[in-house]
């Protein structure tokens, strides 16, 4: 992994020296204009992080609300879960983003509500809903992996459904749910790039804007990719730390 991290920039630098197609000056932090450009690109980071974090939290809550009916003994409730998951999972992110950003305000208006949807919340709502279908499935699998006897034992000592979930099932399931949930967060971070097309000033949008003024797509998008790579590597490290802690807890 470390080797790979060294090799990729070296190759790029080699390309730089051997031909005219590279123009790293665009993002050369040692020059004043280059540094201004780099700062401009990185300034989208905070928006990307904000959108991703808020969408992930919403998706985690929404996912649980969608997963629970899927575990019901009643067929009607299971259908609610199936329809939601299949439907949401089938919609590509970009069309859903357009629908939420351009379409949803019209729906609100026709209902007499004046709720504007800005790019920030448009992106968050879309990412959260789109991701919730996947988190719901993660919850479902995690909860189903807890032996049926646990639920039965909880019932025989008088716990109701909510208490059984809260004190018996979820504390056990969470150890199996958290790592895949954290992986799902990586997906959200990457998909947040789509927010650029509705005008959200995040990483990708900043890169696009700079490309338009500097005409240096290769260098700028290369830096963009590294920005996402660094974000995702940080999250990955967090996930591994989490898994180790959970594993240690399970053994202890």
């Amino acid at each position: 992994m470390k080797k790979l991290l060294l090799i990729v920039p070296l190759l790029l630098l080699a390309g730089c020296s051997s031909s005219q197609t590279w123009g790293w000056y665009v993002i050369d932090p040692t020059t004043q204009s280059g540094w201004t450009n780099v700062k401009f690109l990185i300034s989208g980071m905070w928006a990307t992080i904000q959108i991703s974090l808020i969408a992930a939290v919403l998706s985690i809550v929404l996912g649980l609300m969608v997963a629970l009916p899927g575990l019901s003994e009643k067929r009607g409730w299971r259908w609610v879960n199936r329809i939601y998951v299949e439907f949401v999972r089938a919609i590509p992110l970009l069309p859903m983003l357009f629908w939420v950003f351009y379409g949803l305000p019209i729906v609100f208006q026709s209902m007499g509500l004046n709720i504007p949807i800005d790019p920030f919340w448009g992106a968050i709502i879309t990412l959260a809903i789109s991701d919730s279908a996947f988190t719901a499935e993660i919850y479902r699998a995690g909860i189903q992996s807890i032996a049926r006897g646990q639920r039965e034992a909880a019932q025989t000592i008088g716990l109701n459904y909510v208490q059984t979930m809260r004190y018996v099932i979820l504390p056990q399931a969470i150890r199996r749910i958290l790592p895949p949930l954290a992986n799902q967060f990586i997906y959200i971070v990457k998909m947040s790039a789509f927010a650029s097309v509705i005008g959200m000033q995040e990483l990708t949008r900043r890169a696009n804007e700079l490309v338009v003024t500097e005409y240096r797509p290769l260098e700028i998008y290369t830096l963009l990719i590294f920005e996402y790579l660094i974000l995702v590597l940080i999250i990955s490290a967090g996930v591994r730390w989490l898994e180790r802690r959970m594993g240690a807890d399970e053994r202890g």
Binding site: A147, G149, Q150, E152, A153, A154, Q155, T156, I157, G158, L159, N160, Q163, Y167, V168, P171, Q172
Partner: protein
């Protein structure tokens, strides 16, 4: 009639097309110990699981303390407060300590204070002879100890009836007797018990009534003395000879 702790009348149950329980009639009086035996797949566990509504019966009536079990959540709540259950696989909560396993029900379902619940828990841990394991996790205990914790967990809810679903079947042989000893003590203290087991020594010692089930039916029912010495049906005789051989 009024002293019947549990009454099953014409109970039928199907798993899909499979008729697991056929017209089960059974009365358990307060203080009585009933032992159910039979080959695997005979429906004996299902009877016990129907009594506390872990499984729903489709026909007939089950009454616990005169209250008929229906789909009404209230009737199920009544059962759960009066009937305790001990499982073959213990089903202790692995993420909680022994003490927390015992206090969860009393605190959350009964509204006891933590202090009251812990006092009660320690009392019952004492009763099952493991007073000094309260702060361990279930996984740190032996199978026999885990099952005794599970019994104590049921007792903490102070049930009027205790159901046992093959409580020693998942145990190593050397741990069976420590669990049976606790069960015998409970029986001697007057607990109403319905026990699904193949431990015939235990049955002889405590049972007031023996039930033999095969293919979803109660084939034979009687006092242990007659049951073991002079079984009436061929199926029961054959079953007893098979399990008593060793």
């Amino acid at each position: 009639m009024s002293e019947a702790a549990i009454e099953l009348a014409g109970v039928n149950k199907w798993f899909g097309d499979f008729h697991v329980l056929k017209d089960i009639n059974l009365t358990v009086n307060a203080g009585e110990k009933v032992v159910i035996c039979g080959p695997s797949g005979s429906g004996k566990s299902t009877v016990v699981r129907c009594i506390n509504q872990l499984e729903k019966h489709q026909k007939g009536a089950i009454r616990v303390d005169g209250v008929e079990l229906t789909d009404d959540p209230k009737s199920v709540a009544t059962i759960r407060s009066e009937v305790g259950m001990v499982f073959q696989q213990f089903n202790l909560f692995p993420h909680l300590t022994v003490l927390e396993n015992l206090t969860l029900g009393p605190i959350k379902a009964r509204g006891l204070s933590r202090k009251e619940a812990e006092e009660k828990a320690r009392h019952y841990l004492d009763r099952v002879h493991i007073p000094d394991q309260a702060d361990k996790r279930p996984i740190q205990l032996s199978g026999g100890q885990q099952q005794r914790v599970a019994i104590a967990r049921s007792l903490c809810m102070e049930p009027r009836v205790l159901l046992f679903d093959e409580p020693t079947s998942a145990l190593d042989p050397e741990m069976i007797s420590e669990v049976l000893d606790v069960m015998v003590e409970l029986a001697q203290e007057g607990m109403t018990m319905v026990v699904v087991t193949h431990e015939m020594g235990f049955a002889r010692k405590v049972a007031d009534k023996m039930i033999f089930m095969d293919a979803g039916e109660i084939v034979e029912e009687g006092h242990p003395e007659h049951f073991f010495t002079n079984p009436q049906s061929e199926r029961c005789r054959k079953f007893l000879s098979q399990i008593l051989q060793h």
